[in-house]
Subunit: 352 residues, 2 copies
DNA sequence: TCTCAGCGTTGGATCGTTCAAAAGACATTA
DNA sequence: TAATGTCTTTTGAACGATCCAACGCTGAGA
């Protein structure tokens, strides 16, 4: 089957609908139908048209489709400045892209200025009809995007719960509380009782609060005290992170559950500085399962997010919203999974 | 100045060229000229049209522009499967996006299947006129993309030298050799003589070979032997990485320069396993300056790539290629910078 | 016999923009 | 006055697809 490409570099320019139509001896509308509503055609016509499409290597022009249908089949994603580094962004983007492509969509990147996303970028993309919807991430309290997009009737989905006052919009999130809960369970089973939590400042990050919550409820369930066992670091400051670990260790903690792998690393640092060995003297569990986790010594136990599923669900919810703008919002909470490595396999040194 | 938005959610649909024209009392072509060739208009007409454009919040429809001009103002970037994790991808993508936007372009993501990029994704994007060009990364020997794109006359730029036989195409790369050379210089200044290099298998990665080369030439310049001081790990296997470090340490190396932060971490692991402390017993320098480098204990010295500059140059070269398809190829080699942290500040323990 | 819905297909209008070329305005020159 | 040229604006036709309203024909129901 000689399937030549629709290359515009080949002589004669791109293959158009009309060219296919002429060669197949039908009108261009019929060719269009062959692609978009094959059931309208008589089987033999369909067969013939399809063969010609294949022979000529025809592919519809996205620009023309977009102009006519007013749908670009593009999904916008604002990529934040690297200030707040997200170690698994590459996997997330790959997952979203792949899921989008399976539905005939693609991801359009645009740069969000440092210091939090503004609405300008979103407005420009919309006004120019460049995108059909958005995937948001890093949605925090006070983020104006959700309300603004909702008001304008723009489809969007958030990766991360959106808790600006009353909940609005669709989102997909990971049940962080469930993850830290499982981490505590694992540590308790090993015999740990003094389990600390190292997170961010209360209220500064909703995901952080969520993860703290899981730790707290698991501790309570086992009748273990949490008082004085919660350390608060500021976001993105490794010095503060290290300082925040100290009172926890001074309090005799034999295990630390951290709200991110970065914080877990701060914990490693402080332990090393004191001449202690992470994993042996104090068990550590991180969050995110970033690529470096398994390369550390000892290998860092961490709570892995199901990124492929997240990407899939984001796209699914977004397409559903486009199809039914007035349907009730849908929220998906996915389970993370605890990846146990050497940093959390030992029982407490002093017996708990 | 009441600048209302071009929202399609507002009643009446989007603002078009014709609507602006009617309101300004000119033809739509004149409005188009006001935007694309302002010098054709009489100053007072230009002023009036511009005011109306601003009042109505008009923004040209990208789809219509694309259809007419045959240029989508989009740049394709194939994001590889997460198998080969690249820790600074987020910073690279942000940099490229930002640079692209300053030139009126945006980045279109598409998922490359695991196991190396295929041409299908590129062909589809081209045939549908979705992109004007590509940014490639992870270009290795035997990569068919460069030759294929060149043959079809598609503009592209590589991040990473493209060494498939004779060089083709434009690229931007980091002078890895210069980076490892500087690392050796730094270590020599500290008094180290037995400086090992931990890289990947010879020939498996061109960037890896390049980085090895810099180490070798610096060693030779100082009259230091390199024999038996080069360790070879396979890509992406931390066990092999750890094993590869051992002979280097057994050989009495007091410092290790690694071809990536991942490999440097393997080095940390092996040292810890032997009860040694990285940075104190053996100096370690990584490559990439991934976000975790400064969070390790001791903080990992690393060679940082100028990602913002890389993004800017990629876009610049790509646009130049589009403007002049037959111009001679341009290659940019950027200098990385050594970031010294605790892992490489001590003189050799035994005196070198 | 007449109407009418359904069949697979078609022609024409349309989406919003830019290109090419014609047309108008105005001053200059013969 | 008419011809010439320059500067500014308009007209008409694409770009390549989809939407809509019909086409002529058949068979079923009234």
């Amino acid at each position: 089957m000689p399937r030549s490409s629709n290359s515009s570099s080949a002589k004669g320019g791109p293959v158009t609908l009309a060219m296919v139509a002429r060669r197949a001896g039908v009108s261009s509308q019929t060719v269009s139908n062959a692609i978009n509503s094959p059931d309208l055609l008589r089987p033999e016509t369909l067969e013939r048209v399809r063969r010609v499409i294949d022979e000529m290597g025809y592919r519809p022009s996205r620009a023309a489709q977009t102009l006519r249908t007013r749908s670009s089949k593009l999904i916008g994603y604002g990529i934040q400045s690297a200030a707040f580094s997200y170690p698994v962004l590459d996997r997330f983007l790959h997952a979203v892209s792949q899921a989008a492509e399976e539905a005939g969509y693609r991801i359009l990147l645009f740069a969000c200025p440092p210091g939090g996303p503004t609405l300008d970028g979103y407005e420009e993309l919309l006004d120019q009809h460049e995108v059909d919807g958005f995937v948001l991430s890093g949605t925090e309290r006070g983020d104006p995007r959700q309300a603004w997009l909702t008001k304008r009737g723009v489809p969007f989905v958030g990766f991360g719960r959106m808790w600006s006052g009353r909940p609005i919009g669709d989102w997909v999130d990971v049940d962080g509380a469930s993850g830290t809960d499982a981490a505590v369970e694992h540590l308790v089973a090993l015999g740990h009782r003094k389990i600390a939590f190292l997170g961010w400042e209360r209220g500064s990050s909703s995901a952080g609060d969520d993860r703290a919550e899981g730790w707290q409820r698991a501790m309570r369930r086992h009748g273990l005290p949490t008082r004085g066992r919660r350390g608060q670091s500021s976001v993105n400051d490794s010095d503060v992170a290290r300082a925040a670990v100290k009172p926890l260790l001074d309090g005799g903690a034999t295990a630390v559950v951290a709200a991110s792998d970065m914080l877990a690393l701060g914990c490693y640092q402080t332990l090393r500085e004191r001449g202690q060995t992470p994993g042996r003297d104090v068990a550590v569990i991180g969050f995110d399962d970033s690529p470096t986790a398994e390369l550390l010594f000892p290998a860092l136990s961490s709570i892995a997010q199901p990124l492929e599923a997240i990407g899939r669900e984001c796209v699914r919810l977004l397409l559903a919203r486009m199809a039914a703008p007035d349907a009730p919002p849908e929220r998906i909470l996915l389970e993370p999974s605890l990846v146990v490595r050497d940093s959390a396999t030992a029982s407490p040194a002093g017996g708990g």
